[in-house]
């Protein structure tokens, strides 16, 4: 009763299906639409997610039609540079999987090496299991998965964690879905030295870097969500900002934009407060002026101090 209905094979007999209704009932139509609207760009990612959602929907209908069906392998890998939306998409993915009943609860447990691997002998297995227990019924998201494997140290405890993960990924496929995430090349070499992971992962999704135009749209979206907007001149200044910022160190796509937006708000507030003897109207409160953008250190050669932090 408390369980979300799980796909079963013992209800044959159904012969026709209203696909739209099925998709709506599972909530995928909404989730995909949201994904489309709230995430700028990311075409290949959206296509990948849509394909997986379609596969799962059809799989579920096939089960009900009594057709042969093997439980699909759902473990995935998300590769891409910092701030390209991997964590954000993982959360959406969990929603889709939950809507279709492929995971029972739909929570996302996001971890890195430190959460899984211990400091001394006998510390790793309980740590990894603790996390697995929390992730049961949902999605385990392992960020920067390649840190689990230290090729230069044979006795690294990471290996122990990897072995437990591999076992659970194989034997408890109905209990949880594992998503490995990380930067492209390092993930490729991680998979090359851990064929066990490679063979257990069915879906690889690549997250491309954003184009400058996309970053601008993302910035405007973020401002809108926070109740601000660029003046025409400020918008132009921000285009310049993106162009410069992208070529500076520690650039991390949408996250850098989010940080920039936060600092721009700071400067705008500072500018407004610096002149206490004037009447403000709503437009003043909403509008970002070019000065708020141009004061950034990006324009004087260095990246903003704080953007070095993720």
């Amino acid at each position: 009763m408390l369980d979300v209905p799980h796909p079963t094979t013992d209800e044959p007999g159904e012969t026709s299906f209203d696909l739209r209704k099925e998709a709506e009932a599972a909530g995928i139509t909404d989730t995909l639409q949201q994904l489309d609207q709230e995430l700028i760009g990311l075409k290949p990612v959206k296509n990948g997610v849509r394909q997986i959602a379609s596969l799962l929907l059809i799989e579920r209908i096939r089960q009900r039609a009594g057709l042969a069906s093997a439980p699909p392998t759902l473990h995935m890998s998300f590769t891409g540079n910092p701030g390209t939306g991997k964590t954000t998409v993982a959360l959406r993915m969990a929603k889709i999987l939950h809507g279709l009943g492929f995971v029972r609860r739909g929570q996302v447990i996001s971890v890195t090496r430190d959460d899984l691997v211990g400091q001394y002998i006998g510390h790793t297995a309980p740590k990894t299991k603790e996390i697995l227990k929390k992730a049961m019924g949902g999605v385990l998201f392992i960020d920067e998965a390649y840190y689990l494997h230290r090729p230069d140290n044979e006795r690294d405890y990471g290996q122990e964690s990897i072995e437990i993960l591999l076992q659970v990924m194989e034997n408890q496929r109905e209990d949880l879905v594992v998503i490995l995430a990380g930067y492209g090349e390092r993930m490729t070499s991680f998979f090359a030295s851990n064929p066990g992971f490679r063979s257990r992962i069915a879906h690889h999704i690549e997250f491309p870097d954003y184009a400058e135009a996309e970053l601008l749209v993302i910035a405007e979206l973020m401002l809108k969500e926070r109740g601000y907007r660029f003046s025409a001149a400020a918008r132009e200044a921000f285009e310049k900002y993106i162009e410069l910022r992208r070529s500076q160190p520690f650039f991390s796509n949408a996250r850098s934009i989010r940080n920039a937006v936060d600092r721009i708000r700071l400067r705008q507030a500072d500018r407004l407060v610096s002149d206490l003897d004037r009447m403000l109207d709503v437009a003043d409160l909403e509008t970002i002026d070019p000065a708020d953008v141009l004061a950034s250190r990006v324009f004087s050669g260095g990246a903003d101090a704080r953007s070095a932090n993720p």
Partner: protein
Amino acid sequence: MKLTQGCFSFLPELTDDQITKQVQYCLANGWAVNIEFTDDPHPRNTYWEMWGLPMFDLQDAAGVMMELAECRRVYGDRYIRVSGFDSSHGWESVRISFIVNRPPQEAEFELVRQEVGGRAIRYTTVRKPAAHAAQ
């Protein structure tokens, strides 16, 4: 002699599916789920040993079942029980407890009566030694 303690003990043994459902019920109520084991199932022994920590932050019973499988692997020859502790104000006590594993040879107890002053009787539950129980 089948030991009857806690919930469901007059029913046939719960299957793993049934245990999973009970555990999920506990988790859904926000109770902390504990696995405990003992080789001393005397009814007055309330303090069984804990297998790991109370599990209060899980979403799904599969996590508890994973621990139970491990506990059975190590202590399959003992009694194992699952309990659900409700920490909410006013309850602060165990709400459910049931046996999920028994040794191949169950413990046996007998009642000893001792006549004391004024023909009063003192009752004691005594565990029979294993060798004796085997006959």
